[in-house]
């Protein structure tokens, strides 16, 4: 045991000391934070454009009804013909011309924007919303209603989801985001650290140090030491990330009230329809931070499913690494059977997020080869404890089984030099007695 510990220590320290590890560990959260800050920044609307729009209104319905906003400023132009104004709007200090023809109120057509450049997504939807609301008001008036009455009639349903016995209020969107993000992260982590294990084994084999080491320790100890050492590297990375995220979130909280306030103002200004499109992302972030998803469970489950999912696959990756000699392209044919279930689980995960309680999602979140990815995606939506326990037990069982099998392949493969090993031979080695 003491020797396995020595191996774990070496595998861990030699990797954690690397510059690339320190760089990735510290930079990734910063990059993510910058990315989110940029999204929030854009969503809140800083750096808005200043678009001067000349309105040529042939219908006469719109005068003084179009409201400025979102960096769009309407100015009414009269006494100009479209063809003439089209040519000299720039000289008059406009960025473009909004042409409103005479139209049938039942079938409004022919609204055109002429500009030197394409309209931005925000400006485009804003102008369209403004036109809509004027026409709607007109129609309401024609129908003999007033706006206030119409707003009372207009249904704006917000569906709340309440889960569990304690009637927690949840948000599908937040659950979706959290499930998706953790599934994605586990997918990358399992592949990344699995490959790292495989490369480590290949390095020992091609360096020819494997035989030197296994004259002191059993091959199984060497394999297990490497797998656990790298698991430690992964966990260290995640702990630092969680810690840094916590710090960054706390810092963001100081600014968050301002951001969410701004978002609410926007919502009030543009009505519910507008608030549901992309511009309320800052609201969503705030919602994630303040939602009542069981975050300790998510984090705990994440660490568990990452750890055991990694351990299970790492043993297989190690077995593959022990059978590859120098030629890296040769490894691809052998890694495929190991990466395939991970990739399939990744696709099941997408399905599971859409239908977290579908038969496929439940089955795949219990089956060990796919459970690390699928279960973690389901957890934010709420999973019965019985399913969680069964899935966890089976995953631990899966880890023991693959490690046992991998050990058999590994101890033969690691001593073979100069020969291409096929999958068939690897399977044959499983049946060998110790």
């Amino acid at each position: 045991m003491q020797k396995t510990w020595l191996i774990i220590k070496r595998e861990y320290i030699s990797r954690v000391r690397k510059k690339s590890f320190i760089l990735i560990t510290l930079l990734v959260p910063v990059i993510i934070a910058i990315f989110f800050a940029a999204i929030v920044f854009i969503a809140v609307g800083a750096g808005k454009e200043n678009l001067q729009v000349g309105v040529l209104d042939s219908s006469g319905l719109f005068s003084n009804h179009l409201r400025n906003g979102h960096g769009v400023f309407f100015r009414y132009v009269s006494g100009e013909s479209l063809t003439k104004f089209q040519n000299n709007y720039a000289k008059a200090g406009f960025n473009g011309v909004l042409y409103i023809p005479k139209f049938d109120i039942a079938d409004p057509k022919g609204f055109t924007y002429f500009g030197s450049s394409q309209l931005g997504l925000d400006a485009d939807s804003y102008i369209a919303t403004q036109l809509d609301s004027v026409i709607e008001n007109r129609r309401i008036a024609l129908a003999g209603l007033d706006r206030e009455k119409f707003d009372q009639i207009n249904a704006d349903v917000e569906l709340k989801t309440v889960t569990g016995e304690d009637h927690k209020e949840g948000s599908v969107l937040v659950a979706f985001l959290v499930g998706y993000a953790s599934g994605f992260l586990i997918y990358f982590a399992m592949l990344f650290f699995g490959m790292m294990t495989m490369r480590g084994v290949m390095e020992e084999k091609t360096n020819r140090i494997a035989e030197v080491i296994i004259s002191s320790v059993k091959p199984f100890q060497l394999m297990l030491g490497k797998i656990i050492g790298i698991a430690g590297v992964g966990l260290t990375q995640f702990f630092i990330w969680i810690l840094l995220t916590f710090i960054l979130v706390t810092v963001a909280e100081i600014f968050a009230p301002g951001i969410s306030q701004h978002a609410r103002q926007l919502q009030a200004m543009h009505g519910a329809t507008q608030a549901q499109s992309g511009s309320n992302l800052s609201m969503q972030i705030h919602q994630v931070l303040n939602s009542n998803i069981n975050f300790p469970l998510v984090i705990l489950a994440f660490l568990f499913y990452f750890l055991f999912g990694y351990l299970m696959y790492a043993a297989l990756f190690a077995a593959v690494g022990s059978c590859v000699d120098q030629d890296a392209t040769e490894s691809q044919a052998l890694t495929f059977p190991v990466t395939m279930p991970i990739i399939i689980s990744f696709f099941i995960m997408f399905q599971a997020i859409q239908q977290p309680n579908g038969a496929l999602a439940i089955g795949a979140s219990i089956f060990p080869l796919s459970s690390p990815l699928v279960m973690i995606a389901r957890i934010p939506f709420g999973v019965p404890w019985s399913q969680l326990a069964l899935s966890a037990l089976l995953l631990i069982g899966g880890f023991i089984l693959t490690t046992w099998a991998a050990g058999k392949i590994y101890r033969t493969g690691i001593l073979l030099y100069g020969k291409k090993i096929t999958l068939k031979e690897m399977v044959k080695w499983l049946g060998r007695r110790s």
């Binding site: 020797k3 020595l6 191996i7 070496r10 030699s14 390095e203 360096n207 020819r208 140090i209 035989e211 030197v212 080491i213 296994i214 004259s215 002191s216 320790v217 033969t412 001593l415 073979l416 030099y417 100069g418 020969k419 031979e425 044959k428 080695w429 060998r432 110790s434």
Partner: protein, 316 residues
């Protein structure tokens, strides 16, 4: 007294018998050469002795006791033919790691590492990575890693591969020193002249079987062909040297190689030269070299040396 004794050791693979009923003893304190063509089963044999592979049948006695695959490898130093080091690890750390894996305590290991690196003129490189070293230096580090824990049995597979003559001598001297200190050494190689120079005991294997073993001097005696070298001055180039005592086997310069006929004695050879007043400047028996014995024995068995790669030895 034998430090290592193998009794009817067998290791079979589906394709062939890698080690087929080998029994032998390696005396305590000897330097034993393990010889054999490629694919003879040397690597498999050594891997069983080091506890890397388990024998299918037979027994290994280490220091008079059945081999313990957990504890005994700690008293064995093994430098395999396929060897290497972690390229990106510093020499000092690497030696410490390998020493600790052999059961050395950290403080003891550090002390010994310092001592050995100084002895091998590598101390100034202690914080350099292995990848930055020349091949010869790496070999010396590898050698240190093998002997750091003061093994009772040292197994060296082609230890001089990749070494220049100066470093070869340095390691050779250390091998002799270790032997004087009581270490038993198994030395596997194809270089026969090194066997003759270093070993006092040899084991010859081929196709999984032991062909012969024993002390070098005894084996050379066993394989002698009663050949004698007689040195005579110039001027006898045309002398036929015909006699019923011996047969002229070959001549080169002033040396004649004579084969003694059955039932005759060396004194009768000298009598022939004295009787003819041919001055004898030198006279000695010609014993076969290990190389000759090796080739003769392997060919006698009727099997050409096979050149299957190491892989076939453990494949199943």
């Amino acid at each position: 007294m034998d430090l290592l004794e193998l009794r009817h050791l067998k290791k079979y693979y589906s394709s062939h018998k890698a080690v087929d009923d080998i029994s032998l003893g390696i005396p305590h304190g000897s330097i034993c050469g393990l010889l054999g063509p490629n694919g003879a089963g040397k690597t498999t044999l050594l891997r069983m002795v080091t506890g890397i592979l388990y024998p299918d049948e037979g027994e290994i006695l280490f220091d008079q006791r059945p081999f313990d695959p957990m504890a005994d490898p700690m008293r064995i130093g093994y430098m395999p033919e396929e060897r290497g080091l972690y390229k990106k690890m510093k020499i000092g750390e690497q030696l410490l790691y390998l020493g600790q894996l052999k059961g050395l305590r950290e403080s003891v290991a550090r002390e010994k590492i310092r001592e050995w690196l100084k002895k091998m003129e590598l101390y100034s490189w202690v914080n350099k990575k292995v990848g930055d070293l020349s091949k010869g230096m790496q070999q010396k580090v590898q050698f240190i890693s093998t002997i750091l824990h003061e093994p009772r049995l040292l197994i060296l597979d082609e230890p001089f591969a990749g070494l220049d003559p100066i470093n070869t001598n340095m390691i050779k001297d250390e091998i002799f020193n270790l032997c004087k200190g009581g270490t038993t050494i198994i030395f596997s190689t194809h270089r026969m002249e090194q066997v003759e120079e270093i070993c006092n005991h040899i084991v010859l294997v081929n196709a999984g079987k032991k062909l012969l073993d024993g002390s070098v001097s005894r084996i050379r005696q066993d394989f002698k062909q009663h050949l004698f070298r007689v040195n005579v001055p110039a001027g006898y180039e045309n002398e036929p040297f015909q006699s019923d005592v011996f047969e002229l086997s070959s001549r080169s310069g002033d040396g004649l190689i004579l084969k003694l006929r059955e039932g005759k004695t060396t004194n009768q050879i000298l009598g022939y030269f004295l009787g003819r007043e041919i001055p004898v400047e030198g006279f000695n028996e010609v014993l076969p070299s290990i190389n000759e014995i090796f080739i003769r024995v392997v060919q006698q068995v009727g099997e050409q040396p096979t050149h299957s790669p190491v892989v076939s030895e453990i494949e199943k």
